[in-house]
Amino acid sequence: MGTAAFAYRGCLGYASLDDWQGEVLSSRQASILLSVANALLPPAADEGAFKEVPIRVDRFLRGLPTAFLREVNVLFYAVEHSTTILTARWHRCSELPLEDREAFLTELSQRKGLQGLLYKGIRDLCMLGYYQQQKVWPSMGYTGPMVGPPRPEYRYGWMKAKDGALPQTLVKDS
């Protein structure tokens, strides 16, 4: 029964995200990220922007080196499951009540070394996913990209080789 309890704690009981179509983050990781964002982002966060955080983070992580993405996987696992080892809380991070979840993350933020890095890593992902969104900018007075004046005439088109063209220096193609 103890094994089953641990198995449940470790693997089951995650809220599934409808239609999750991430390429880097799993549905579970997206769920964990949402739960952390809930605790770390402003209480009055725009709901639409808030729900987009895992989508935006997934998009940002695409194409990053494999070694970096391995670290991201470890980060999610460690944040989610270190509640017991580090702070004697039974429940996983995403299962904690909101206030307790924030308290756990705040405790992590005050620790040094790897534990502090766990907090910083997951926090940075939340901030990255939230503050890149245009709907958030009015609250900070940020006016965003400069729309006008007109852009100069495009002068770089001639540089690109036509599709199918091969370098003149190519002496053997396989």
């Binding site: 402003p42 070394g113 503050y131 400069m146 540089m159 370098p167 220096t169 002496v171 193609d173």
Partner: protein
């Protein structure tokens, strides 16, 4: 023309006179000289062909296109972030266009300590004059100063601190302020705009998504370059080809170049390759102002404070080594650099439009290391030594003084936990803080000095022509060459190295 490696078959063989690895300031300059001298030149660029038309001025899109690892590159222990450019034009696509010459004091020290027979002072001056003309370097007029830069001007004036205007390589600038995300208005007179057209018109070829993984050698001579074809979406290797060349010039930055040389087992009895990295680490301090600053708008970094930058005292252990300028990040960057979370963090972000940020960049003495990590990655180790850490905190103090002098209501040092002061007297606490890993985000954008040039083959891997001492046909033409940190933005000097090394390669190949 510019070709994409993904469009030709894996296993292809290219043959040329000169293969240049990297299309940034140094690589493009060297390639331009060689191509215009009639040599068949192939330039390999690991990134893509990103033009001003593609600049969306959005962090999450442009970081992916213009920065290695989308701007997440850091030291192994994550304590220092190092931003480096990617794409045809390298870091000149995203830099802030600052143009400064290496101070004479430093050049004289190099000449005294490292031989530098091919780079006497006169040569440096001539190269700088040439580069400044090439890039149309001019001072930014006072009337074009943003409110953000005016704050630094005001602070210097109030304190009686030394400062002055900065020169930039921009033409037709509309003051968007989005330089670090690529100029959508094509105002940067950078490698892409100025040098690449000349390379191509002289029949040089540039190949994108081409990551050089190894330099092949035979009988004491560099013979060819193995290249991985990189898929632009996954950034994974999807193919390979080889470029055979009479000479190979590596200009892949002060991190990429030593990594490639080490990965290729290029002999170096001096053991300096990758072991003497400097980065100009910087700390940031923000001030909150009653009126709006809108620091993301207008030309960034048009004024410098040099009160604490004592090049004449170079070598004197008490000499200060700090260069202070404005610095600002867009929302994503700011939110991640500002510690904390929840309501407190959000309240600070609401003051974004009222925030000014100064940075103190250090002319560092610490030596970091660069090592390859497989074929397609590298490992960076760097943590400022005790003296450099003290100096950085002195820089934080100086930034705080300037912000208060310019009228800031409060000043914040983005440490964990956040430290906000409301009285200039409290800034003394910044000076006395011990800088520890993880306490504050240290950022660097000027890696250099990782293969320090010198004419004594027992002390250097590369001579003052950029020619490798121990492998014929191998050259280096980027910021790796600087024997020490230079204390000023390096782009002008890297362009200069490209021209200089390019000419020596042309002579060596008999094309002069």
């Amino acid at each position: 023309m510019i070709y994409d490696a993904n469009n030709f078959p894996s296993g292809s063989q290219l043959k040329c006179d000169l293969c240049v690895v990297g299309s940034g300031a140094g690589g493009s300059a060297a390639a331009m000289i060689a191509a215009e001298a009639g040599l068949k030149v192939v330039v390999l660029e690991a990134g893509g062909f990103v033009t001003p038309e593609q600049s969306t001025q959005r962090e999450e899109e442009m970081f992916k296109k213009l920065l290695w690892q989308s701007g997440t590159r850091s030291t192994v222990d994550k304590s220092v972030k190092i931003h480096q450019g990617l794409g045809v034009g390298g870091s000149t696509l995203h830099n802030i266009n600052l143009c400064k010459r290496i101070p004479q004091t430093i050049l004289k020290e190099w000449i005294h300590n490292r031989g530098m027979h091919h780079l006497p002072l006169k040569k440096w001056q001539a190269l700088y004059t040439e580069v400044e003309k090439l890039l149309t370097v001019t001072e930014v007029p006072l009337k074009q100063y943003s409110r953000h830069n005016q704050i630094l001007v005001d602070g210097c004036k109030e304190l009686g601190w030394r400062g002055g205007p900065l020169q930039h390589n921009r033409t037709g600038c509309v003051g968007s302020g989005f330089c670090e995300l690529g100029c959508a208005f094509d105002a940067k007179n950078n490698a892409l705009k100025v040098l690449v057209p000349r390379i191509l018109r002289a029949k040089g070829e540039i190949i994108t998504h081409a990551y050089a993984t190894k330099i092949r050698k035979e009988d004491g001579r560099a013979t060819s370059v193995d290249v991985a074809t990189i898929d632009p979406k996954s950034n994974e290797k999807v193919g390979s080809f080889n470029v055979e060349a009479k000479a190979i010039c590596v200009a892949a930055s002060a991190t990429g170049t030593p990594a490639l040389l080490l990965n290729s087992d290029i002999p170096d009895p001096s053991d300096t390759t990758g072991n003497t990295l400097r980065i100009h680490p910087a700390v940031f301090v923000s001030g909150d102002f009653e009126d709006k600053v809108n620091a993301w708008q207008g030309i960034p970094q048009t004024f410098e404070c040099t009160q604490w930058l004592d090049f004449d005292g170079h070598g004197n252990s008490d000499a200060h080594r700090l260069w202070i300028i404005t610095a600002f990040a867009h929302p994503m960057g700011t939110a991640t650099m500002l510690p904390g979370h929840g309501a407190a963090h959000a309240e600070r972000m609401k003051r974004y439009a009222h925030t000014a940020v100064l940075t103190a960049m250090l002319h560092d003495e610490t030596r970091g290391t660069v090592k390859p990590d497989g074929d397609l990655a590298l490992k960076l180790e760097y943590w400022p030594n005790e003296k450099d850490r003290k100096e950085l905190m002195h820089g934080a103090w100086a930034c705080a003084k300037l912000l208060f002098a310019a009228g800031a209501k409060s000043v914040t040092l983005p440490v964990q936990p956040l430290k906000t002061i409301t009285d200039v007297a409290q800034a003394e606490t910044f000076k006395n803080m011990e800088l520890k890993r993880g306490m504050i985000d240290i950022t660097a954008v000027h890696p250099m000095a990782s293969i320090p040039m010198g004419d004594d083959a027992s002390e250097a891997a590369v001579d003052s022509r950029g020619k490798h001492h121990h492998l014929e046909g191998l050259w280096v033409a980027d910021g790796s060459l600087f024997p020490t940190s230079i204390g000023v933005p390096p782009q002008l000097s890297i362009y200069a190295m490209g021209l200089h090394v390019g000419r020596h390669m042309v002579t060596s190949l008999g094309a002069a």
